[in-house]
């Protein structure tokens, strides 16, 4: 629950900051006004694209660094088949 609270707080702070900048209640520092007007509407969509890219990168990284062990795989498949047959013999519908 603590992690969710922290995430919710950060999201709330960033969203309010974005709303302040978007409705020109605060000016964007160091940036010319016409440029800010063009960039600010794209920020939520940029956040969405960043999240999607991060998710894809994270999955790709997991695949890249996965440590395969074929022996454990064969052993596990054998155990699964054994368990399925056992359950079927006892009358449970399996797969």
């Amino acid at each position: 629950m603590a992690r969710a609270h922290r995430l919710a707080t950060i999201v709330a702070v960033l969203t309010s900051l974005y709303a302040l900048l978007f409705f020109v209640i605060l000016p964007v520092p160091f940036v010319h006004e016409d440029v800010a007007v063009k960039v600010l509407p794209t920020i939520p969509w940029w956040a969405l694209v960043t999240f999607g890219s991060y998710a894809l990168w994270s999955m790709g990284w997991g695949l890249w660094t996965f440590r395969d062990c074929p022996d454990a795989f064969e052993e596990l498949m054998g155990e699964i088949a054994e368990a399925k047959n056992d359950l079927r013999a006892k009358g449970v519908t399996v797969d």
Binding site: K38, G52, L56, W57, G60, F66
Partner: protein, 88 residues
């Protein structure tokens, strides 16, 4: 199997990086460049920088919703069939 995993993982890493870098330049960095700068030739018109993710979001949510709907219908059908078999 490990090799195809690595190849697929590498492709995903590459795609994610390219998409992120291209979209960041398109949405955030392009307005800082002069309208006459040659860099604008490498990117489509900027309204598409909003339309494209919006479209993908809507399509993605529709696909997820359809899949969930299918699964619920299939499970209900299976349950109804089982109940019928038991009372038959």
């Amino acid at each position: 199997m490990a090799l195809s995993d690595k190849v697929l993982g590498g492709a995903m890493l590459l795609t994610a990086s390219i998409v992120f870098i291209y979209y960041t330049i398109w949405a955030i960095l392009l307005p800082f460049f002069d309208a006459s700068s040659p860099i604008h030739d490498y990117f489509p018109a900027r309204e598409w920088a909003i339309r494209l993710p919006a479209f993908i979001l809507v399509v993605g949510l529709a696909v997820i919703g359809t899949f969930i709907g299918f699964t619920i219908i299939k499970e209900n059908r299976k349950k109804a069939q089982k109940a019928r078999l038991r009372t038959a």
